[in-house]
């Protein structure tokens, strides 16, 4: 008898505690919204890695730094937040403690399930995710995505790299064969081959986003094979750039400007320009405008850019690169215009067919274009 009585009492305690916690949650919510009502736009940024990594996270942090300069914006950030339940905690604390009105969880893996789980609980908060995963009708209304066509910049880098290469062999150190990476490799190759059709691009997949020793080893192996320009798509290009400089070859950058790391060999690079995106969002929120669910753009929209050319880049190569850039800026450039074969000889885009930059078909890319030496198979 007494056993069952104890049990019931425990259950009662448990339940009352749960109700209490719920009440607390509710009141905190209210506090959060009251803070949000003050006149400053409050923006929270979350990064998966260190914000000064010369790479992906630094590019976003530079964007955050730009909005921080506006006196009507209050921006805060947290770095090194893993793609686990941690990100959910960080988002909730930014909403409740800092009063964030809009959150920018910048890493690809934050979206599903973390943002999708938290967003429905806070319908007044905007969750804007970098990566372009939002689907209308399927995902919560207060969620959106933004992404840039950085492959346009890679096309320009490819032209510069191809133009400056003496051996006609370029190298690409890549993390994993996912579609964004493959698109960068293909654009780089197509750019180089648009001016020198015999150029080849050797790809080495390291297997993960941040493996400094293997990235250095991959770069050394490429140089040993007579490759004289190397670029990369890894989280932090620092090691690849410094290794190229040490081996006395050219390199082109990725994510942000790495010219300081390789002053002699850094030809140019594909950079994000998130400052533009974040400023636009801040403006929209200040004016109370409806925030679009999808924001995308390339060179023309100013979301991506190309690093200033190194002084060693010859006049002729500059002209060719600038001509392509002008075509991107005017919107007439179509990179994926048939006939295009993949590197196994299969025709992937038939003659006369073209896929413009916004074509959703390009986002499921799983092939490497002719001229790439490498394989998407793991």
């Amino acid at each position: 008898m007494s056993e069952s009585y104890k049990l019931t009492r425990r259950q009662v305690l448990k339940r009352s505690a749960a109700v209490g916690a719920l009440g607390m949650l509710g009141s905190l919510d209210w506090v959060g919204q009251a803070w949000g009502a003050s006149d400053k736009v409050k923006m929270g940024f979350i990064f998966v890695g260190p914000r000064d990594d010369y790479g992906y996270n630094q590019a976003h942090f530079e964007g955050k730094a730009a909005v921080t300069k506006l006196d009507w914006v209050k921006a805060f950030d947290e770095e090194k937040v893993p793609e686990t339940i941690e990100i959910q905690k960080t988002m909730e604390s930014m909403i409740k403690l800092d009063g964030a009105q809009v959150l920018f969880p910048t890493s690809f893996g934050y979206f599903d399930p973390h943002i999708l789980k938290i967003a429905p609980h806070y319908p007044t908060i905007q969750f804007l995710h970098c990566g372009g995963l939002y689907q209308d009708g399927k995902h919560p209304k207060n969620v959106g995505s933004y992404f840039g066509y950085i492959d346009e910049s890679q096309y320009i880098s490819g032209i510069v790299a191809g133009g400056m290469s003496k051996s006609g062999k370029l190298g690409f150190v890549a993390a994993k064969p996912i579609s964004q990476v493959l698109r960068n490799i293909n654009n780089y190759t197509l750019g180089a081959r648009s001016i020198k059709p015999n150029t080849t691009v050797h790809v080495i997949f390291t297997g993960d986003w941040s493996l400094p020793v293997r990235e250095a080893e991959a770069t050394n192996s490429l140089v040993d094979q007579g490759i004289d320009v190397v670029t990369c798509h890894v989280d932090s290009p620092k090691v690849v750039m410094t290794t190229c400089e040490k081996r006395d070859i050219y390199c082109t950058g990725y994510h942000c400007n790495q010219s300081k790391l390789a002053p002699k060999g850094y030809l140019t690079g594909a950079e994000w320009n998130w400052a533009k995106v974040y400023m636009d969002y801040a403006e929209m929120i200040r004016k109370g405008q409806q925030i679009p669910h999808l924001v995308r753009g390339g060179l023309k929209e100013g979301i991506v850019r190309v690093s200033d050319y190194n002084q060693v880049v010859t006049e002729a190569v500059r002209k060719q690169a600038d001509a392509a850039k002008d075509k991107f800026m005017s919107g007439e450039m179509v990179v994926y215009k048939g006939p295009i074969k993949d590197n196994t000889g299969r025709v992937v885009i038939a003659a006369g067919k073209e896929h413009v930059q916004t074509d959703i078909w390009l986002e499921s890319m799983d092939w490497l274009v002719e001229g790439v030496i490498g394989s998407t198979k793991s």
Partner: protein
């Protein structure tokens, strides 16, 4: 100039030296520590702390060699802390080691924040390949003095452990604490000294990573080299010279994955990248026997007791 298949061989040779050197230092340090009867799993933290300290000191002082020395001293401090904690009754050295690993990496990340961006002076390299006309071979044989120092340390340590009174004391402490006490040897002091010296070597291994290859300080710098080196000591059967060969083998195996891709072997790179681990497993399985414990294992180690 194109190296083709020779490139793979050159990459493995170069990689053995380039990637193997930090393994060499950390495994020598761990070898000495384990010979005295302690396991220091915290060497991963020591390695990262050494990398950070080396980079920071090199940046501020302009002298990478001073950085290497300070990295060693930082490692020594961490090693001394580990063994001091372990010298208390009923303290488990493996648990303390894991705590020290997290403490070392955490402290290095915390203190290392301002050093991710700036570029510190690099350790100079020695051209051993000057006789060759092949640029690839020249690059592979561009080695750092630390590698040569590592070889000397391996030889001297091996000799001292077997041929000197100091080595005998360390080994007695590692084989039987009771026997050591009966001989009047200060077991705890011997272990503290050995762990601190082991930490010094591991710290130098860390500074090689940040100051020579891959030459960078970032929070992703070590992908578990410190922990792997602890396994290498078992692989090397607690012999300093074997540590040298095993480290070279590991470095070469780690270089195989990327270099095969560069000559067009494009499939299966996850498997090729896993070769060092597969190799370790294979050697462990081949050399182990149900009838006896590991040859050469100091008897005081908690894993073998």
């Amino acid at each position: 100039m194109e190296a083709g298949w020779w490139g793979v061989l050159i990459a493995v040779l170069g990689g053995a030296i380039r990637i193997g050197t930090p393994f060499l230092f950390v495994s020598l340090g761990e070898c000495l520590t384990e010979k005295s009867g302690r396991i220091n799993l915290g060497l991963e933290g020591t390695l990262v702390m050494g990398a950070m300290t080396g980079y920071a000191v090199s940046l501020h002082s302009g002298s990478p060699w001073l950085g290497v020395l300070c990295a060693g001293l930082a490692g020594m401090a961490l090693g001394a802390l580990h063994s001091w904690l372990c010298s208390f009754q009923r303290v488990n050295d493996i648990a303390v080691g894991i705590a020290m690993m997290l403490f070392g990496t955490g402290l290095a990340f915390f203190l290392g924040k301002p050093y991710i961006q700036p570029s510190a002076p690099r350790l100079p390299s020695i051209d051993l390949g000057a006789w060759s006309d092949v640029p690839q071979l020249k690059a592979a044989l561009q080695i750092n003095a630390l590698f040569l120092i590592g070889i000397v340390v391996a030889i001297v340590l091996g000799w001292m452990l077997t041929n000197t009174a100091w080595g005998l004391k360390v080994r007695v402490a590692g084989e039987s604490a009771d026997a050591a006490r009966a001989l009047g040897l200060p077991v705890d002091r011997i272990r503290i000294m050995s762990t601190a010296q082991g930490g010094f070597l591991a710290g130098i291994g860390g500074s090689y990573l940040s100051l020579y290859y891959p030459f960078n300080w970032s929070e992703g710098l070590s992908s578990g080299q410190g922990l792997m080196a602890v396994a290498l000591v078992i692989f090397a059967r607690w012999q300093p010279m074997a540590c040298l060969w095993v480290s070279l083998l590991w470095g070469g195996a780690a270089a195989l994955g990327p270099s095969l891709q560069s000559v067009g072997i494009t499939g299966g790179y996850y498997i090729f990248n896993a070769i060092p681990y597969i190799m370790t497993l294979a050697v462990m399985i081949i050399t182990c026997s149900p009838r006896r414990t590991l040859v050469g294992a100091p008897h005081e180690l908690t894993v073998t007791r």
